[in-house]
Subunit: 152 residues, 2 copies
DNA sequence: TCCATATTTGTAATCATTTCAAGCTTGTAA
DNA sequence: TTACAAGCTTGAAATGATTACAAATATGGA
């Protein structure tokens, strides 16, 4: 049988990226955290356990490399940090302005189905659809302590 | 007849914002630069001519105030800076990865027409639709000097 | 006028990201 | 096997955007 790590390695090789230990671990981490949309810092902190010598610069370099090769998707919804998404199938996102979590939103959208091509003469490479508001949980727990970061 | 400045003043008062000189000038600048989607720095630099004592902090404070009151719309497409849009009617944006300019895109979208309300149980306050790619001009002028900033 | 309050300002701090140069690996050719 | 070049990784310093903070200034009544 094929291990998950072998699949990760294949993904890198398909994009012409040499599968170094650091790159494998970073991509593996993203693949195991599809719902977190982690920041650079989150990737770095978690992987320090596995790779005590890991450099934050390497995480930045690697993630930028992955972005360029379209191996991951960059979510810039907060405006202050990039969050990384292993799921490159087009989908919308929702940012809760109270607890800060980013949630996947699946909905039909005319431009969602790989329809890239040309719009108004401009060549389209990436499509981003975002919503901001208050999430289901935070709407319920009004006045109660939120379980994540606050952005207010 | 009603001057443009009087309209700007009314907009501020309607949102309960005291129309100080700085605030009037900042909102006026945004209203005259609908197609630029200016950065904080651009607003600051231009207004220094009119208000030599202007502080960058005031521009930040004022624009954050305008954002909270929904007087302007924040475009976070680049991931590294907020760009401000006087046009709060819902519309999509396009970022050229070559020259860096942000262009308005008008197109029909199921979620574009003030349909905020609830999605998947989450309360929606803001809707953002972005595209990234290479703009019409930059596609033409391959190899030629671009007329704006480069992001590559 | 005097005072309370809101606003503006300048500086310093913070936070994310990039730059850069030095050290480390790895593959390959002598 | 040794030697070297190319690619990778690392840590420190630099950059850029934004926020925190406290002092200075303006405003609008009592
Ligand atoms: Mn996602
Ligand atoms: Mn716009
Ligand atoms: Zn929430
Ligand atoms: Zn362009």
């Amino acid at each position: 049988m094929i291990t998950n790590m072998e699949k990760i390695k294949t993904l890198l090789e398909e994009k012409g990226i040499k599968p170094t230990f650091q790159r494998l671990k970073i991509l593996e981490y993203l693949s195991n955290n599809l719902n977190n949309h982690p920041t650079v810092e989150m990737v770095y902190e978690k992987l320090l356990n596995d790779i005590p010598t890991l450099s934050l610069t390497t995480v930045y370099n690697t993630l930028n490399n992955f972005l360029e090769k379209r191996l991951v998707f960059g979510v810039t919804i907060t405006g202050t940090e990039v969050r990384y998404d292993f799921n490159t199938d087009y989908h919308h996102h929702f940012l809760c302005k109270k607890c800060g979590q980013i949630i996947d939103i699946d909905l039909k959208c005319a431009y969602a189905e790989g329809e890239k091509g040309i719009i108004s003469g401009h060549r389209i490479d990436e499509i981003h659809g975002y919503f901001k508001g208050i999430c289901k949980d935070c709407s319920k727990n009004v006045g109660k302590k939120s379980r994540g970061r606050s952005s207010s």
